[in-house]
Symmetry: C2
Subunit: 409 residues, 2 copies
């Protein structure tokens, strides 16, 4: 039988996918404290197919440039190495050399083939990596790879920056009597917007799948998850989602078995969505997570414009923080998306409470509006009544804490 998809919170998920060995160590890049993990390595002895989705920022960090290049030319990967605390971005030619040396060291210590390791970094921009600490860190990390829960947990902790907690989840399902799995872990915090600002996410699976199909599956999942969250509208130089499939289960996913492929797509989608929601919920100093749904727009693209206009409006986000059911700010943010919104057709809901009907405020519901927007999580639903397009974006409020937290590094 095939099916029974189960998604579980699991910060040790990286260690639970067969034939991957992982570890996270401290090498004093993020802070000088042995408990402060800041480098991880994921290794598969059997070769993996791999896919990546990267930032669309014009300014791309060295590890992004390197990983993109190697993904485009390579076919068999044995893992990746990632550090936090320093983004290796805006570091010129030396940055590229350093990123390549991170990969080479990982390859050397794991006896892997040339070009088979990918590299990620996250953290402060514009400073060279302290390679004198990174290189011993990589060696140290490879010497203690494993698949115990503690290895998985150390791995998911080592990629964090301003996150308050590690984020991981595990998907398992059956295929012809065999259990398959995907383990995912991620980091986020501020700057979360389209194209996955300042976030890293990693997915490991034991299915066998060819590289092109893996890329399609991952792209689709990313578009509906990491590209649909926003904290401050910014997008970073380092955003990366990587997926490795080592085929250890022997089970093959391909276009020839559409039902299996569909279930795999669902599993990847659910993992990405779960990690994306965890990222928003852990946004820097936020107090509320708000789902913005725009429906019956002329088309999906228009719905997305309106959605992002609302989800990124400072005035809307501060009113959420204040628990103020200010529909005027929502409507004017929708209006400045300039998509041809017709005010007298607009319906608006806060959760189930009707706010506007055909543009007219339903003030008899005012106390319900207030109740909804004072919750930790609620949904803004705006129906344009102009077509069949829709979009959902997950956003957060804008707080004094966010400003205080980000006013200097």
């Amino acid at each position: 039988m095939t099916g029974n998809l189960i998604i579980q919170n699991d910060i040790a998920a990286a260690a639970k996918v067969p034939s991957f060995k992982v570890n996270g160590v401290s090498c004093d890049v993020r802070c000088k404290d042995d408990d402060c993990l800041d480098l991880c390595l994921v290794h598969s002895i059997s070769p993996c197919t791999a896919a990546g989705v990267f930032t669309k920022n014009d300014v791309q960090a060295a590890p992004v440039l390197l990983s993109r290049k190697w993904l485009a030319s390579g076919e068999a990967f044995h893992g990746f190495v990632c550090n936090s605390g320093n983004a290796n971005a805006c570091t010129g030619d030396q940055g590229l050399i350093d990123a390549e040396n991170m990969a080479l060291e990982a390859i050397r210590y794991t006896n892997s083939s040339p070009g088979s390791f990918l590299v990620c970094s996250t953290g402060r921009i514009g400073e060279l990596l302290p390679m004198d600490r990174i290189i011993p860190g990589i060696r140290n990390c490879t010497q203690n790879l494993g698949n115990l829960p503690e290895h998985g947990e150390r791995t998911s902790r080592s990629i964090l920056t301003s996150d308050t907690c590690p984020k991981g989840c595990l998907a398992t399902w059956e295929m012809e009597g065999e259990e398959l799995s995907i383990g995912g872990f991620a980091k986020g915090a501020g700057m979360i917007e389209p194209n996955m600002a300042t976030m890293l996410a990693f997915l490991l699976t034991d299915v066998k799948i060819h590289q092109e199909l893996l890329r399609e599956v991952l792209s689709e999942a990313v578009n509906k998850s990491f590209n649909r969250i926003t904290i401050d509208g910014d997008m970073s130089t380092n955003d990366t989602v990587l997926m490795l499939a080592n085929g250890a289960s022997g089970k093959c996913i391909s276009e020839k078995t559409p039902q299996d492929l569909q279930l795999f797509q669902e599993a990847v989608g659910r993992i990405c969505l779960d990690l994306a929601e965890k990222i928003v919920s852990d946004g820097e100093r936020i107090t509320k997570v708000v789902r913005v749904e725009v429906k019956s727009a002329p088309d999906d693209e228009t719905a997305e414009k309106v959605c992002r206009s609302i989800a990124n409006s400072l005035l809307v986000k501060t009113s959420w923080y204040g628990g103020d059911p200010n529909w005027g700010r929502i409507v004017h943010a929708a209006g400045y998306a300039q998509v041809g919104l017709e005010m007298d057709k607009v319906d608006l809901y806060y959760d189930d409470a009707l706010v506007l009907l055909a543009g007219a405020p339903q003030t008899q519901n005012r106390s319900s509006w207030k109740t909804v927007v004072n919750k930790d999580r609620f949904t803004i639903q705006l129906n344009l009544n102009l077509g069949t397009g829709s979009c959902t974006v997950l956003s957060a409020d804008l707080t004094e804490g966010y400003v205080d937290f980000n006013k200097s590094e």
Copy 2:
């Protein structure tokens, strides 16, 4: 002779243009306090040509819809009436009736011709105007029109909402021995972005100029001033710039006298720029005004994209607040404008202090960077070295005070 353009700060400027009479009164719309002026009326006995530039928000307030309609069809105007405290936006058919009644009352009490008064409102969205207070306010206002400084000052005060001070300036110049003038006043505060969010500006002049030319002159000036300021990236339903020319000087500006036209264009441009700068400087709870200049972009449009990306980035704006010379945030904001920026060509300056040269940080200047970004006003100059396009936007920092101020109404 022709020339000698003088621009002066003058919060009573509205009263200083010959043959306009003005006044501002209190009618308990903004708050219940006789000192709280919230309605003004500007009247010219001789007919004016008029031009307006309005919000591009899909949701346009009733007075915007009405004034646009009347400007498109009419040729002779005698003034306008404006209230603060209630925006008459999202108020449906009744809002349109109320806006028209404001104009009709102004016309009636000034014995003007039908369709000759324009209407503006600013304030809270989604509530009907309290016409029982507005109508007596208009009558009261028309009974005490004048051109003393106190009339001018009351006028510029009556349009304010969350502004901390009135904003006005006067331009005077000579033409064939005669003094000509433009008096301007404005309100701003939060939500200042492209297309003049939540701002009103009014310009009065005694030159004679045909309507189409006035419209061109005003549009050009607005594009280079009010459309180049940003506080929070939002754009409101009510933004309006109106200009009336009553011809009282007898001096005619036309395409036939290009030198005179050029001087007039300069005067209008300088007034708009001055008012725009006053608006940013009085942004809600800001502590710093920052000029963002993008130069040597492939073209002006690209420069503007990069400029706005920087000027609206929450992470950039909070770093200004913290006095943190964080060039990484500026570069990544420039990068996510996605215009094909090439990092190794980028030069960056904080005022005169060199920050990046061909993408490389000039860390020997770090103490100068810090000095600059701790000033109340400074300039960020980013040279892309890709062409000849340029753009300047005036922005402000993002403060905890802004969030606190806007978290509820």
